[in-house]
Symmetry: C2
Subunit: 444 residues, 2 copies
Amino acid sequence: MTTMTDTAATSTTNATNAHFTDPLLGSNFKGYPRTQPPRLRSEVGAAGWNMLAGDLPLPLAMLKREALEHNLAWMQSRVREWGIDLAPHGKTSMSPQLFQRQLKAGAWGLTFATVTQLAVGVAAGVRRTLIANQVVSDEDLAGIQMLLRATAGLRIVFLVDSLAQLGLIEDWARRHPASVPFEVMIEIGVEGARTGCRTHEQAVTLATRLRASDAVKLVGIETYEGQGATGVSEPDTAYANTLMDRVEAIARHCDTHKLFETDEVLVSAGGSAIFDLVAGRLKPALGSPVRGLLRAGCYVTHDHGFYQRMVSALDERLGCQCGEGLRPAMEVWATVQSRPEPGLAILAVGKRDISFDLSMPVPIARAARGALEAQAVPAGWKITALNDQHAYLRWDASEEAEAPQVGDRVGLGISHPCTTFDKWHWMPIVENDYRVSDAVAMHF
Amino acid sequence: MTTMTDTAATSTTNATNAHFTDPLLGSNFKGYPRTQPPRLRSEVGAAGWNMLAGDLPLPLAMLKREALEHNLAWMQSRVREWGIDLAPHGKTSMSPQLFQRQLKAGAWGLTFATVTQLAVGVAAGVRRTLIANQVVSDEDLAGIQMLLRATAGLRIVFLVDSLAQLGLIEDWARRHPASVPFEVMIEIGVEGARTGCRTHEQAVTLATRLRASDAVKLVGIETYEGQGATGVSEPDTAYANTLMDRVEAIARHCDTHKLFETDEVLVSAGGSAIFDLVAGRLKPALGSPVRGLLRAGCYVTHDHGFYQRMVSALDERLGCQCGEGLRPAMEVWATVQSRPEPGLAILAVGKRDISFDLSMPVPIARAARGALEAQAVPAGWKITALNDQHAYLRWDASEEAEAPQVGDRVGLGISHPCTTFDKWHWMPIVENDYRVSDAVAMHF
């Protein structure tokens, strides 16, 4: 690689570091008060703003501080009890400040989906990283080597699931003889699901070839159980056990045949839906020391939709009492802009502002114009559709007396944190009374 | 409003103007080459990059220059023939460079969905603006007044559809006696659809109250026909005619009763699906001069999905020969990262990168690793699902011999431009051989 390339990498990393530590927020970011001058992220908490007081324009996505901190601590306690570590998926939030909170809470490292995401994590100070994906292109392989060279103490481990992929990596390495071997985990997949070796034989053949290659070092084994999750304990348990049996058998084979080239074998699984069912299987008894890594990402804010449904079964399995388990920490508030016909209100919030991919947002609170306290909403309130910039709030005919008025504010719970985070450049962190006490930035 | 507020508004506008004219792009934006130093947007075209040569990391969304320029000119020709003007919806792209191209092509102004979006348009130099939405909150009303005060020659017109909304505006105006009257259009809606007055009587009552209010000036009438579009000419024509009959009757009433307070009545409609069916109705014969304003936004890039299906009926109505009508101008390219089982390839592109709300992306082209020319894909290739960061490409068993290989690149057409634009901070503009000749930035 050329000197220009190295200079570019270093200067970009340095430039972004400054932004990431404490970026300047301003009204060019939606949700920031238009009547206020730009402020450093760290100074937003001192501004004295309150969402319910109308200090910030709606729609606005926000994080509830208590629930956020509870979730960070709760998940860290779980992995400690399970004797494993957390490498939470950073793609959920892509927020340097949340990465730092996750590391401070005790996370071993962070997981990312792409090299571009990884570079954001590195700029935010993350040093142990997984890419829970196959890396195949020249540009991405070069990007990894560039980050490794530019960043002292950085570790990057990515996934391999085919001889074809290994061939591309070896081809790149031949053309770049000064590069260091890539650290890789072999991925085990499930027929009909996403990536990963489908059979024991495929995995063993691939692991043997990885061991023989100078371009890579096999340091672990990985799978993703989330695609099989139904939220019903019996089938989910059977699914996870079958998958983890396969992972363990392949890990044993690699261990016995000295295919791992590492002092500590990484064994990783774990989305955010049924992570308790794989957590206990991440430290199989091998000849080498093993580090189990859970990659859950959505736990950080949890939700009022898909993950709440999934995790209610998990709470039962863990025997969590109400409030002890994960708590929804993200809300999106919006204004009622029209009540065009009985039973229908249109909120000024849409696909540009809130998740809609797994299920519709859920009305959870309301506040009349000027009200400084949020109230519960009638049970029949539901969001039935979203357009790009509008949401359709409907209610039962029996609830017409409690119908929202034009100008009222409605708080929505979300379903799937990832696809709300990616619609905002920043979010305030609020207390339970919606006073803004801090803020985070996102880098998608 | 305080002096601090005015200073903030001015300084923010000036600060953003510099960014918007020619922002610095760098590898902190996904899709920008990691091995390259940051460049001004205007200098990207001179860098000599080619997507197919692997100069930019995938996934990457891009605009095809010829198709883009064709669409800009085509739509402008249509509105000229119809004797109306274009105020294209800026929420589609939120790109200052595309706004400027739209204005240069002859657009009268731009439309936005929110005050925050409008502020981006103003910073990009737009001076005639519609907000195709009800404005109701103190913060948004204050934001409009702030922009009007800070920007010479700026015009902002927004929608009103209820006495309740007018009450909120009047309440705000009473508390801000130095403010200028808001320019508003009355919105006509359809039972079961989104916002807007449902009946002639509602609209007439509201218009009469708007005329009597010092807080607002009624300058026009607006509707949105897009929610009734089916893509079938006969019902779409009937739907549009019925709606526009209502709009015209209300416009006549307002004209006869001197409810408009303007030298030129604005009459606006038009999404991107059946705009030809309303275009001819935007200059009703009134006592005052009328300016018809079409607000289509998605025409700028068109698509390979929802709008292609909708507009094929429109092409028939207009008698367009192939290629004369709108052309799809946006593609998203991605790398094959895994071929885990027969008939399935996983592409490294997902919900974070491409629209999925109206229909799945469509494989339209392929290029083997290293190939400098794109080729057509077999007819059976389809994207069957997206995860956050992955796409599932499947094909018919008969096409197995033409199956993609790990490392191949696949070009995807999109469905619904709005929800791909909002996933990127920038996009290169490419020639037909995928040489990068220019770039645009987005501000969501």
